[in-house]
């Protein structure tokens, strides 16, 4: 396959809000079920191990009309919760059998309850991800939470997940994460050969593909990328932070890059690579998964960190990626991101790293304003 064809395929997969890919997967796997997983991070290994397809929920993008959800969701709530509800209310979850929500914010918490009531045909569960990572009881707690969710999935699937099956699923996701890491490293070194829009399409295509198929697709792309030709342009390197849950429109990423930036580091679709290193298998795979979540050092607005850690880690990442500036780019009304922005901005000031705040919504249609903002930002850096 040509690399352009791969991106076309990814775009088709990502644009398909009817989840027909999921329907096709189910047709090929008679009796198997599919579970929608809300961002940011859900342990999809559990779903996979139960013989089901974990489907990444990423909102409705700019693709769907809001005919029902607006009457149930106030104007001060983020787009992804609204569009997720709309997708369900317009029958687009018909190929799903359940939904899993993680404890990321106050909106997602109640959204899980709304989905549970409005979509009675779906099995809906809520995972309370641990916040006190310093506690001696945290791994035991989280292991039991994973076990609880696993039982729910098993009941739905009508089978029992064995440790071996879970270990195999963990390995499959380890492989996927490894290729994702390679792709991110590639973009960091050669951003002119892999745009952020392309990397996002590649990653997001995994929302509806089986993990093995997605990993193959990523690997194939990586092989093709090394043969891709292109020349670096005179652009500044930036880090984009704050879009860990709701995703900015692809046009916005494109507008940012065209305005004179290479996005070389970001927290887009962060959950897909939340576990930054392999989950080490050693006996009990549930415990391995629990320990991995607790011990790994991914820093984000949706998980508590000791004071200063959140801000310090951003500065560290900015320095490691040798960026010229940081874009604090968050979804409108996203409280976790907006609260953190104050601390992050102060830290960037202190570290002398230029920064710009941008807000986005799924339904935004005009990108002239952010483009101009970014252009001005770029000029201020280039001609400083």
């Amino acid at each position: 396959m040509l690399i352009a064809e791969i991106f076309d395929r990814c775009r088709a997969l990502v644009d398909d809000t009817d989840l027909s890919t999921v329907a096709a997967w189910k047709a090929a796997h008679p009796g198997a079920k599919a579970i929608g997983c809300f961002p940011v991070y859900v342990p999809t290994e559990l779903v996979h191990a139960a013989g089901m397809l974990p489907v990444g929920l990423v909102g409705g993008g700019g693709h769907i009309e809001m005919d029902h959800a607006d009457s149930l969701v106030q104007s001060f709530v983020c787009s992804i919760s609204r569009s997720t509800l709309e997708l369900g209310m317009t029958g687009r979850f018909r190929n799903l059998d359940g939904l899993l929500f993680p404890s990321i914010c106050d909106v997602a918490r109640n959204l899980s309850g709304m989905c549970s009531r409005n979509f009675p045909a779906l099995w809906v569960d809520y995972i309370h991800l641990p916040q006190n990572r310093a506690s001696a009881g945290v791994v035991d707690y989280y292991r039991s939470e994973l076990a609880r969710v696993q039982v729910g999935l098993d009941v739905l699937a009508g089978r029992t997940t064995t440790f071996d099956a879970l270990a195999a699923s963990i390995q499959a996701f380890n492989q996927q994460r490894a290729v994702l890491r390679d792709l991110h490293a590639f973009r960091r070194s050669f951003p002119w050969l892999l745009s952020t829009e392309e990397l996002h399409l590649l990653t997001n295509a995994g929302s509806v593909l089986d993990v093995a198929e997605h990993t193959n697709l990523l690997q194939e792309t990586l092989n093709l990328l090394s043969m891709r030709k292109g020349k670096p342009k005179d652009r500044i390197r930036v880090l984009l932070e704050g879009a860990f849950c709701e995703q900015p429109p692809l046009e916005l990423m494109k507008a940012i890059e065209e305005a004179g930036c290479w996005i070389v580091e970001d927290d887009l679709l962060l959950g897909r690579r939340w576990l930054a290193t392999d989950v080490t298998l050693n006996g009990d795979p549930l415990r391995a998964l629990a320990e991995s979540y607790v011990r790994q050092d991914t820093v984000s607005s949706v998980r508590h960190e000791r004071p200063r850690r959140r801000a310090d880690s951003l500065v560290e990442r900015a320095r490691e990626a040798r960026v010229d500036g940081v874009l604090l780019c968050s979804a409108k009304f996203c409280e976790p991101a907006l609260f953190d922005q104050v601390l992050l901005r102060n830290a960037l000031e202190q570290a002398g790293i230029p920064h710009l705040a941008l807000e986005f919504e799924e339904k935004m249609g005009v990108f002239e304003t952010p483009r101009t903002q970014v252009e001005t930002f770029v000029e201020s850096i280039l001609f400083a």
Binding site: S71, L72, V73, Q74, F76, V77, S81, S103, I104, C105, D106, V107, R109, N110, L111, S112, G113, M114, S116, R117, N118, D125, Y126, H128, P130, Q131, N132, A134, S135, A136, G137, V138, D140, Y141, S144, E145, R148, S301, V302, H304, E305, R306, P307, R308, R310, K332, F333, E335, P336, L338, F339, D340, Q341, V342, L343, R345, N346
Partner: protein
């Protein structure tokens, strides 16, 4: 003759004056100060170590009532806080930026921040910011959300483990050791106050009700949330109960004539409390039960602190506050209130500041309208930010709703 009327108000004035007076001197006297939240609060443990307790949420609501919130919120926005985030946080950050000077004097600096992550993610962001501002230790007590019909034993065990760890931290901060006996005594007194508080709330089951289960209850609830574990708190609720019993015997109520009984969901708009209450009073509305007084704990159906199991009962209590319950449980609770308190309607007050409350409210309205055929009114303003209150608009909606209700009632007769 009325002997006990206004007892609740007057006693509370004294209690809070003493509490804030002690707070103002705590730093100077080198006595330990802890900041904590209402939801999921573990004040018994902190009191056992002799901490003075500061509740930033209560300070924010006091600012609201005293019409001082706007200035503090603006100060925080000038420091970079978005207009779209919780007004309580901005109010409190505004106070911190003003060096603790606020309408009731001076707030002490904390020696310890205890964030109960109990159904509110904003809590965490709030204390992360304060920890950086005050450069003092922050303990996040991770309280699992009540997400299922049963609470898993592992959840309780996790919270108890953390409470023991918090206790070690308290020891380090205060240099004091814990007396289990003192903890048991605090917990026992809490349970006693909880019994009395539930009896007060349940007075509103009477027809007419002697108590407004929202507009008065959100005021009477202060001691159960901030002074639990003290003999004064128990005495306070004995007083309030006496006041309510006397109201019954004298035929006094919160309004001259009760015409409608409603259940109210959501927080009050503190900066416009009187104006908001007036919207309902003029229609003869008594709120017989409401969800806001259950933020600090849902004691209605038997949950109590227990001196036989102090740690486990503190953990259970931390989990069972209103916002830490999933939507289905909350909706079931409102249904129960409607039935047990004989309500004619449900009023939902959505506030921008608090998504933990507001997200899902329109869905609750649908549930009651469609499945229960119960009239339900949905209105919006804010609990903290005085800018989000349109009295004319609210009045139009409230009037239209009760006019229709009145019409329906007279048509039935």
């Amino acid at each position: 003759m009325a002997l006990y009327q206004d007892l609740g108000r007057n006693l509370q004035k004294d209690l809070l004056a003493k509490w804030y007076g002690d707070l103002a001197l705590a730093n100077e006297r080198k006595e330990p100060v802890a900041y904590l939240f209402v939801s999921g609060n573990v004040e018994e443990l902190l009191q056992a170590y002799g901490f003075h307790l500061v509740y930033p949420e209560i300070n924010a609501l006091q600012c609201g009532i005293k019409k001082a919130a706007g200035g503090f919120i603006q100060k925080a926005e000038e420091a970079g806080y978005s207009s779209d985030v919780c007004g309580y946080v901005k109010n409190d950050v505004g106070i911190a930026l003003a060096g603790g000077k606020w309408p009731l004097g001076n707030l002490p600096k904390p020696d310890l921040l205890v964030c109960t992550y109990a159904g509110c993610t904003t809590y965490m962001k709030w204390f992360e910011a304060l920890a950086q501002h005050f450069e003092c230790p922050l303990f996040v007590l991770d309280v699992p959300f009540v997400r299922d019909e049963d609470v898993p034993a592992a959840d309780i065990a996790y919270v108890v483990t953390q409470l023991r760890e918090l206790s070690v931290l308290c020891q380090a901060v205060t240099g004091r050791t814990l007396s289990e006996e003192r903890l048991r005594e605090l917990v026992r007194l809490s349970a006693e106050a909880e019994d009395l508080w539930v009896r007060v709330l349940e007075m509103a089951k009477r027809r007419p009700s002697p108590l407004d289960g929202f507009f008065e209850a959100v005021f009477f609830m202060a001691p159960i949330n901030v002074l639990r574990g003290t003999p004064e708190c128990v005495a306070y609720y004995e007083g309030v109960l006496r006041e309510m019993e006397e109201r019954v015997s004298l035929g006094i109520g919160p309004i001259p004539e009760e015409k409608f009984r409603v259940v109210l969901e959501g927080p009050p708009p503190w900066p416009h409390f009187r104006a908001f209450w007036d919207l309902f009073k003029r229609w003869g509305v008594t709120c017989v039960a409401s969800t806001y007084p259950r933020v600090g704990g849902i004691w209605d159906w038997g949950m109590r602190h227990d001196p036989e199991r102090p740690w486990e009962s503190i953990a259970t209590h931390a989990m069972n506050g209103y916002t830490n319950w999933n939507l289905a449980r909350r909706q079931a609770m409102m249904r129960r209130f409607v039935a047990e308190y004989h309500a004619d309607a449900l009023v939902l007050h959505s506030v921008k500041s608090c998504r933990a409350f507001s997200m899902g409210m329109a869905d609750t309205r649908e549930l009651f309208l469609r499945e229960d055929r119960l009239p339900a009114l949905f209105i919006e303003s804010d609990l903290a930010d005085p800018r989000y209150f349109s009295e004319a608009q609210l009045r139009t909606r409230v009037d239209a709703f009760f006019e229709a209700l009145e019409h329906r009632r007279s048509a039935r007769v």
